[in-house]
């Protein structure tokens, strides 16, 4: 009973306690334990996070250390190339043709510009800009490839100090010193010297020029291009540590640039300038070469252009002007102008005919002003409608009789003519030290079949006989061919380099013309004498020579051959009607007995060779001889 009552009592008390009371001690204990449990879970979570973070930090700092080291260095280290001074170019007498001047460019780093409009406003407080310049600056803003914007180029020292004083107005801008190429006779020398401009992708891929790391400018044309590797030198560099804003903290390493070598050309500046001044309103080419060694004394392609324009970032507008100019000033006519040589080819055709014994010096051809060919409705006309009567080779050359050479060409045949003209240098490059040379054209059956899918007609042979039709020669080829005549077959590759001076050792390396000497075999020296004498008659035999009626040079005699090439030309762009226009040509060498210079003159649309080209050549020869005598006098 007691037990049961006691049990009941305990149960009741338990129930009561359960209902109305909490045991604070046991409750606190469970709370302590449950908190301990949760705190331990929290500890575990903390440890998991700790481990994850540490392993990621290990990954970044230890595993990928080298990757980030490179990134860090490329962040702070900038390589700034230091441009090498380009070698100077002199003429044969040591007169400077191209040098370098120090200018300043006003630039701004694009990333420093927050607001373009505000920047432009502030800029105009500092420098005066015309609307075109502002437009160009805006275009540079849009060009994603540019990091720096060039505001002004080639600032003179005066303007430099003006801008430098007010620089605080726009702290972003920088005045960067720059060495700039300067051409002292920009128009007369434009084609032969070429110019220097910014390195382009084409230059980097080019095999003929070496683009050194950090090089910004490169010769594009002419001598600047051909001797780029000699002239350029090698840029140095500065390894700079910069901060995040690009400010230079210190120079880590520096390598000095190697100066380019100076070049001496065979050109005579005075002669070149004299010639250019005579012809700058015309179009054509004039070459003066020393046949004794291949030295080009004068290399004039006219009209020229201002080569100094290209050393700036030439604006599109001016470039387009040059490209679309009807006079085509950008074409180097001396090596890339291909002309029908006209009658200037006759001496060479004559030699071929003599060699092949088609004719001899006494062979006569009757000229009655035209030459009839079978199966040809229209006769081939001679320039002299009344005819030359019975002519031998010498007379035909002196009179430039067409009928004689029609006959000779017909007898010789195109195969023999084309085959034998190669030895005078026609139809192939002369390999003068310039790029972009054209090889002209000696047409033959094979060529015609290939390009026109047509058989060769005899009438075309006749045209080749007088240097017309498909036949094309460059002025430099004519010069070389003339020197074959003048030197009795002993010729030298035409060249412009006289020598260069090493910038490091000051040693002079001279071009050796003997390394490029060629002998043209002419079967009988007399053939040459016949033709040369005929060319003497052209100039000297009064009333017979086609160039004999002009004023003579007092002291010496020289030989030449006139040529008038008929070409079709679009009527100066005015209409699309093709009109016939004559190119005036003249090949010559002087003095007659011991040739010192070969002069080739081509004036496009210049009328007759005897009226336009020959007097030019005479003046050039005269000028050359007077200068030579002056020099001899002053030396004595």
């Amino acid at each position: 009973m007691k037990t049961k009552a006691r049990k009941d009592s305990i149960r009741k008390r338990n129930n009561f306690e359960e209902k109305y009371s909490r045991d604070p001690m046991s409750n606190a204990e469970s709370e302590r334990r449950s908190h301990r449990f949760r705190a331990l879970i929290a500890t575990a979570i903390v440890l998991v996070f700790f481990t994850t973070y540490i392993s990621e930090l290990y990954e970044v700092q230890v595993s990928e250390h080298s990757y980030y080291t490179v990134k860090s260095d490329s962040n702070r280290i900038r390589i700034r190339p230091v441009q090498a001074t380009r070698g100077l170019i002199y003429d044969r007498n040591g007169q400077t043709l191209a040098d370098n001047i120090n200018t300043f460019n006003l630039i701004v780093k694009k990333e420093l510009i927050r607001d373009k409009e505000i920047f432009l406003q502030n800029l105009q407080k500092l420098v005066v800009l015309n609307p075109n310049q502002i437009k160009e600056i805006s275009q540079q803003f849009q060009n994603r490839r540019l990091k720096d914007i060039t505001i002004l180029e080639d600032i003179s020292l005066d303007d430099f100090s003006k801008i430098a004083v007010d620089r605080h107005v726009l702290p972003e801008i920088e005045l960067v010193p720059k060495s700039k190429r300067r051409y002292l006779s920009p128009y007369a020398m434009s084609h032969v010297l070429g110019y220097v401009a910014k390195v382009s992708d084409d230059d980097i891929e080019s095999e003929v020029v070496k683009v050194h790391e950090g090089m910004t400018e490169i010769g594009k044309l002419g001598i600047e291009r051909f001797y780029q590797n000699i002239l350029s030198g090698k840029p140095g560099y500065e390894k700079l540590e910069t901060d995040a804003k690009g400010k230079v903290i210190r120079v880590i390493e520096k390598k000095q640039p190697v100066r380019g070598d100076d070049i001496y050309l065979t050109l005579d500046l005075n002669l070149q300038q004299y010639i250019y001044n005579k012809v700058d309103k015309k179009e054509g080419a004039i070459i003066v070469m020393d046949p004794n060694n291949g030295d080009i004394l004068s290399f004039v392609s006219f009209p020229g252009y201002d080569s100094n324009l290209f050393t700036k970032s030439i604006s599109n507008k001016r470039y387009n002007q040059l490209i679309t100019d009807k006079r085509r000033p950008l074409i180097n006519r001396v090596i890339a102008g291909q002309y029908p040589p006209g009658s200037t080819l006759k001496p060479f055709v004559g030699i071929v005919a003599l060699e092949e014994q088609i004719i001899d010096s006494t062979k006569l051809v009757n000229c009655d002003g035209a030459y009839e060919l079978k199966n040809h409705s229209r006769p081939f006309k001679c320039w002299n409608k009344t005819g030359h009567g019975d002519s031998d080779l010498s007379y035909a050359l002196a009179q430039s009789c067409d009928v004689f050479f029609y006959r000779v060409a017909q007898l010789t045949g195109i195969d023999t003519i084309s085959e034998n003209l190669y030895k005078f240098g026609f139809g192939q490059k002369t390999y003068i030290d310039l790029y972009g040379e054209k090889s002209g054209l000696i047409p033959d059956r094979e060529w015609k079949a290939k390009t026109k899918q047509l058989p060769w007609y005899q009438g075309e042979t006749l045209n080749v006989g007088i240097g017309q039709g498909y036949f094309l020669a460059t002025p430099i080829q004519l010069t070389l061919a003339t020197s074959v005549l003048a030197m009795d077959g002993e010729t030298y590759t035409p060249h412009l380099l006289k020598g260069y001076k090493s910038s490091s050792t000051r040693e002079i390396f001279n071009y050796n013309p003997l390394e490029n000497k060629f002998s043209t075999v002419i079967k009988d020296r007399n053939y040459l004498e016949i033709v040369k004498h005929a060319m003497w008659r052209v100039v000297n035999e009064k009333n017979i020579g086609t160039a004999s009626n002009m004023k003579k040079i007092a002291s010496i005699e020289y030989a030449g051959k006139t040529g008038t090439a008929q070409v079709y030309n679009l009527d100066a762009g005015k209409s699309n009607k093709k009109i016939l226009q004559d190119h005036a040509l003249f090949i010559s060498y002087a003095p007659y007995e011991a040739p010192e210079i070969v002069v080739t003159v081509i004036v496009e649309h210049g009328g007759g060779g005897s009226s336009t080209a020959a007097p030019l050549a005479r003046d050039i020869i005269d000028f050359y001889l007077k200068n030579k005598n002056k020099k001899i006098a002053s030396n004595e």
């Binding site: 705190a39 996070f49 973070y53 990621e56 930090l57 230890v62 250390h65 962040n75 995040a244 804003k245």
Partner: protein, 371 residues
Amino acid sequence: MNDYIENNRRPFTGLSSLFYIDLKLFMPIVIITIIGLVTIYSSSSGDIALVLKQFTRILIGVIVMIFIAQVHPDNLKLFAPILYFFTLVLLILVLFFGVGKSADRWLDLYIIRFQPSELMKIFVPLMLASYYSDKPLPPKTKYIFFAILIAVLPVFLIMKQPDLGTSLLIGMSGAIAILLAGMSIKFFLVSSFSTAAFAPILWMNMHEYQKQRVLTFFNPELDPLGSGYHLMQSKIALGSGGFFGKGIFNGTQSKLGFVPEHSTDFILTAFGEEFGFFGVLILMTLYLLIALRGLSISIKATDNFGRILSATLSLTIFLYVLVNVGMVIGFLPVVGAPLPFMSYGGTSMVTLFATIGIIMSIKSHQRILRK
């Protein structure tokens, strides 16, 4: 009663005991602050003025810590609601009268300018601990609802400022407190899902620059020179440090200005660049020691208030570390969150020392109720 006195006396030996200082908690912090001073000195290229300024803040922090450590936890518990609601009012005032550069976080009281949101970093855990202290644990569902309300109110107000980083940190410290107090698995799952559902609303309430930051975080290559720039450069700085670092004064990333904020939010990159993984490992271990010490204190604490509060606060400090380091190594989006005890700056330094002061107070004012 004897036990109580004895137990109370035993730890009170020496100077530190006299000031209720827990050396095991304090020592790692001292080392971290020294590391911070060295890093600031180095990354500012030897700007001693900057170091002195930071040192002054540390001193003020330590004084605040010692002061708070003297306060009995019961008093904290008592004043928690007053402090909490007072700060809540300040937060509302900030919305109307706040000043600041990009966001109005500061309240100008003419004498001092301060961010009420910083105070909430302490007061939310304090209020929650105080709220739970007289409830039986695990709490009933309705108490949890009130607890969530206590946490969410300031979070919402701070988000409106807008200060997404701080509001999320406070929200998480509130969540830690609530989780530590305990809840049923079912409730936990339900609340987790509802939080997830809340995310789109959060996204819609975010400002454009905040959205941008989150987007860049998920795809840093999108904008390597914009928001992603911070992350890229900080990883480069850390990674180029290697195992032993570039050596003091040799950090280029931070000194040359590639790492922005190299003395404040991104101080770890400056430190990691010069002291390497080795240095970072030591630093992270120090933070771990602080967290573990705090949790150990909470386990030994004698009442729920002390337990919840000390555990929450120490976990929160570790959370700050995780957020800052996570942001530096690309685990988390770039939010403005300083590295505790290291980053250059006054408010957070004082707040953190105050937090430590509270933990120390809980540790050193333990009452023994049993036996």
